[in-house]
């Protein structure tokens, strides 16, 4: 009986301090991140007519995928987003891995290289996009002056202006700017590998090439996966570089239109096109679904297969 009373007296008061710690951050996070995302997904299931929103189920999504007014733009934007991602994945990431491996093998003396290679990453994509559109401009003709002496002058074309080359060129500009990010991540993973492991392999007569592919690469495989996922999420949302060079109409003839430029034009309106928030929300919902698909593939296909080694 006495013990019970003691326990009751010791019972802590409601922990208000936890609430105080959590509240400010979660109010802002909930109001400006969670609520808008959930509300956008909801809005994708509604249609606007005469200022009234009514529930229409998946009709917006069906229109996006099959209505002749929407479907061609939707599928081309989706395709371009995937191409944009693949170019970054296949060009930016392998080069980043090679550079990170070179930097990691130099120890402290590589500092100046790291600093210079990372420099473009701190610039705004809008600025670098303009910068490259000037450098590649046929008016200025810099590529021509560089390529002509080595006999490849005919290759110099208005890459950003042609339908066939505009999208890959923009993807490469984006890769040029952001290559610093995967470099730093690979580099951090590579220098975390214990030295004795590598030394032991060299003593056994392994070459630098062997050591990299048979020891280091398997050890950093989890990072390779995370970077692939990050590249997917980031590039699937490509907007800035396209908007800066091509505007929201993503010319020439929509050849550089991605999911985000399509989303922007639809929900915000652009030039002659009136804003359509519910169709915009449906496009955002589709993007969200595709991103989640990527995340699920990463979790269930990649993470299950990739071995993680405890160091």
């Amino acid at each position: 009986m006495a013990r019970l009373q003691v326990r009751r007296m010791n019972r802590k008061p409601f922990p208000f301090h936890i609430l105080v710690f959590l509240a400010p951050g979660f109010v802002i996070y909930g109001l400006f991140m969670c609520y808008p995302l959930v509300d956008s997904l909801r809005l994708g299931l509604f249609a606007q007519a005469g200022g009234v929103e009514s529930f229409v189920g998946f009709e917006n999504f069906v229109r996006l995928m099959s209505d002749p007014d929407w479907a061609p733009r939707f599928w081309s934007a989706l395709g371009h987003s995937l191409i944009f991602f693949l170019i970054n994945m296949l060009v930016q990431n392998p080069i980043a891995l090679m550079l990170a491996a070179l930097l990691a093998s130099m120890g402290k003396s590589g500092g100046i290289y790291r600093t210079l290679i990372f420099a473009p990453t701190v610039l705004s994509l809008v600025i670098t996009a303009f910068l490259w559109s000037l450098l590649l401009s046929p008016l200025w003709g810099l590529p021509k002056t560089l390529l002509t002496p080595i006999g490849m002058g005919s290759l110099a074309r208005p890459w950003l202006g042609l339908e066939s080359t505009a999208l890959p060129t923009l993807a490469l500009i984006s890769a040029w700017q952001f290559i610093g990010v995967p470099i730093i991540l690979y580099y951090a993973a590579l220098i975390a590998i214990p030295n004795d492991l590598v030394e032991a392999a060299y003593v056994d007569g392994a070459t630098g090439w062997d050591v990299f592919w048979l020891i280091k690469f398997p050890l950093i495989l989890p990072v390779v996966g995370i970077i692939a996922l990050m590249t997917f999420i980031f590039n699937f949302n490509a907007f800035d570089v396209i908007y800066a060079v091509k505007g929201a109409l993503a010319g020439p003839n929509f050849a550089t239109d991605t999911m985000m430029t399509f989303f922007y034009r639809t929900f915000f309106g652009y030039e002659l096109q009136k804003p359509n928030p519910t169709m915009g929300a449906a496009i955002a919902g589709s993007s969200f679904a595709i991103l989640m698909l990527g995340v699920l593939i990463y979790i269930f296909v990649w993470q299950r297969r990739a071995k993680t080694y405890e160091l």
């Binding site: 710690f21 802002i28 400006f32 490259w132 800066a244 955002a284 991103l291």
Partner: protein
């Protein structure tokens, strides 16, 4: 005799492999440095060409793009146009206000959440952590339709407050993710001895905060650059003249003066050079912060 000969042979062999190994190593080093130098040039030279040409006359920009400005070709005409036709001082001020205020809120509120999640066990702890982790993966831009509506109903469109609120929400997940791991490493005894001395939980938080400073530097490095460089939310929430950020202002100016090469080159230089200068001053700290953040 035979033994001695084969020993000598072996020694000779070892010596030759050693020298050839040294050779390959030197060659390897040369190849390594050449590759790295190539990519460093690729990273730096484009910006350099733009900046150099921004100080030249229009004729010289086109006739000799790869030359440094000489006494005859030097011109500040582009900078004068930018000076007269746009307000880069205001743009820089707006960007600084938005970036620094967001950063401060992300660090303060992020540290408070991280401390609570790392320190106390309460129902919903894991759930809140998962909710935040989802925010690292899902891009906030996908919620733009509703964010715009929200800002319209709060009458915050064309204010810097709108941008600060959105960037704070966007930056919190990663901040909490990094900071929680650091708060977990703070020794229990330290906090408990403060409590025995009668310190309140808030006091304990302020006592522990200085111990996670390296993590705070990492979070600052990770969140600052994307906020400064963003074009999406300024475009949607604050396109007005008075609230233009550097990225937004440069974008508008560049679109308007697309054919005035002097002005375009000058405004590009004005947007890029101060940031690059700051970067080169703080690059050691920034890269160290990012590298250690990546290891977590």
């Amino acid at each position: 005799m035979d033994q001695a000969a084969s020993d000598a042979e072996a020694t000779k062999h070892v010596v030759t492999t050693a020298t050839s190994q040294a050779h390959t190593r030197r060659l390897n080093g040369l190849v390594k440095h050449s590759i790295l130098i190539f990519f460093c040039l690729l990273a730096i030279v484009p910006t350099f060409i733009i900046v150099v040409n921004s100080f030249k006359t229009r004729d010289a920009i086109f006739s000799e793009p790869y030359r440094l400005p000489t006494r005859e070709t030097f011109s500040l005409k582009g900078y004068q146009t930018v000076q007269e036709r746009s307000d880069f001082a205001v743009y820089y001020r707006n960007s600084a206000i938005v970036t620094l205020t967001s950063l401060l809120l992300i660090l303060l509120f992020g540290a408070m959440i991280s401390f609570a999640l790392a320190e106390y066990r309460f129902p919903g702890n894991t759930l809140l952590m998962l909710l935040l982790l989802a925010g690292i993966i899902v891009p906030i831009r996908l919620g733009s339709v509703s964010i715009l509506r929200l800002m319209v109903s709060f009458q915050l469109v064309n204010t810097l407050v709108a941008l600060i609120l959105v960037y704070t929400a966007q930056g919190l997940p990663l901040a909490v993710f990094v900071l929680t791991q650091f708060f977990r490493q703070v020794p229990r005894d330290l906090k408990d001895s403060a409590r025995i001395d009668g310190a309140s939980e808030y006091r304990v938080f302020w006592l522990v905060l200085p111990l996670v400073t390296p993590a705070i530097a990492t979070v600052a490095a990770l969140t600052m650059i994307p906020i400064w460089n963003d074009i999406w939310f300024p475009l949607i929430l604050a396109p007005g003249e008075a609230t233009r950020t550097v990225t937004m202002g440069a974008q508008q100016f560049l679109g308007q003066f697309a054919n005035d090469w002097n002005a375009v080159l000058a405004s590009l230089s004005m947007s890029a050079v101060p940031i690059l200068a700051l970067y080169f001053i703080f690059s050691r700290q920034l890269l160290r912060g990012l590298t250690s953040g990546a290891l977590k």
